[in-house]
Amino acid sequence: MKRMFSAPAFASTEAAEAGSAAAPALSPHVALTREPPRPRRRWVQWLSANPQERVLLWCAAIVFIGVVWQVVAVAFVRSPLFFPSFTDTVAHAWQLYVSGHSIYGDFAQSMYEAGVGFGLSLTGIPLGLLIGLSRRLMIAIEPVNSAMYALPHIALVPLAIIWFGLGVTSKAFIVFISAFFLILINVSAAVATIGRELQDVAATYSASRWRTFITIILPGSVPFIFVALQLAIGRALVGVVAAELFASNKGLGYLLGVFGNNFETADLFVAIATFAAVGAILSVLFGLIGRRFEKWRIAA
């Protein structure tokens, strides 16, 4: 019997019904082939063989951004007051950092404030580990921790100045508050989420609490600790800028205000770029240190 709408899947059945033993022929059309990949382009080969591949790619990205920046500034905006070109900015940076030596004191001041505050906030690591170990402490600390973490820390700047004056201390305090609770919340959460199974292993070998901490809880938390530190660096820099902008007579944040008020846009760019560069370098540094502790994860 002839069917009007027969799906291809039924074709062989129909052939069998008709008494023909021929197998259905393969279509001459090739739908899919798999072959080894073609050799990669020479420059890709060179790059992936190069141990500094990562750094080279970074440099390439920076150069690319510089070129786009330059083109936009020179060809489209054409107003150094509004949007200084890349080369202008580099020239100003040279003047501020190399020929003029005028910005070093401010740079050091800001880094000192951020360093002191960030250094103190590292106490959040042991405290976070301790809190994470106790379910009850974890619950007790939750509302305070969430509130302090979510609070815009700039709101504390006037208070910091009343308490600690206009000097280094008030800025370090803001940095500390910005970074500390972020570290505390992340580290305690990391401890609390370490797998029950591994702690069972320790328990069945009668490992002491200290041994369980050293062999299981601490190594399990290390990756999260470094992620928290990377995030905290960003927050620490925000803290420094906010506190210095509000009230100070020295520091990169203070200079941001001065340059802005005087429409020294190229200098302003240099100050901004400095913060960006410090943040990037520290972040990469912590990332690299973190990787050293994670040989086992990268080993695959």
Partner: protein, 277 residues
Amino acid sequence: MRSTAGRSGVAEEAGPPIAADSEVVALDGVSISYAHRGKPDVEAVRDFSLRVNRGEVMSLVGPSGCGKTSLLRAIAGLRTLTSGRIEIRTAAGQAPFAVVFQQPSLLPWRTAIQNAAYGIECMTKDRKLTRSRAAGALAMVGLAGYENYYPNQLSGGMQQRVNLARALAVQPAVLLLDEPFSSLDAQLRERMQTEFLGVIEETNATALFVTHQVDEAVYLSDRVAVMSSEPGMLRSVLTVDLPKRRDARDRRGGDFMELCDAVAATLARPAGSEDLA
């Protein structure tokens, strides 16, 4: 020397020992229940008594949820008893037990040999002894040459071997195994079972092996304890009347099939037909 692992809450002062000299593990009237807030307690195990003799492999079979894992965890101290008593006899300085977990449960930041050494580290400060015992245990499970690999560089079967080596390395009075081969594929499971028999023969270890697979229980054990479920009670203990030395061919034989049938029939009996002679 005798170490009582009485974990029934009050009974640390213990009483007269319940285990005879040849018995390594003695469970006496053990009950375990789970508390659920706002609901009546669920009784997982009721009045369970069992003896495991020295050098014996005892399997604990039962349907899923019959409380066999709860029992194993209670022996390992990971669960509390509601009533009853558990005793493990050890030689001087010997670890009473070591657990081979269902999942490999390896520390991902430690290499195979460091993982295998974990249990001994908890017992001794002797670095040399720790290393040699861990290396020996790894060799015993067929992982010589893989000492410095991290768990994520090893296959699932190899990870499970490290799990086994970690327990073997402490040379415990009794090995507690919680369905250790259940997550492996069928072919690998059979191979690991045969290797496990080899290890047991070599070390003359005592083992309590929890599984829900009848053929695995019969293949590996000297005796099979069959449990009923809800609540988990001991239904019967069957002796496996096969030569101690077995290999994969034995499990296709008629005797083996008959034993499996006997265990399966005991499992399938209606509730309330416990023979606690």
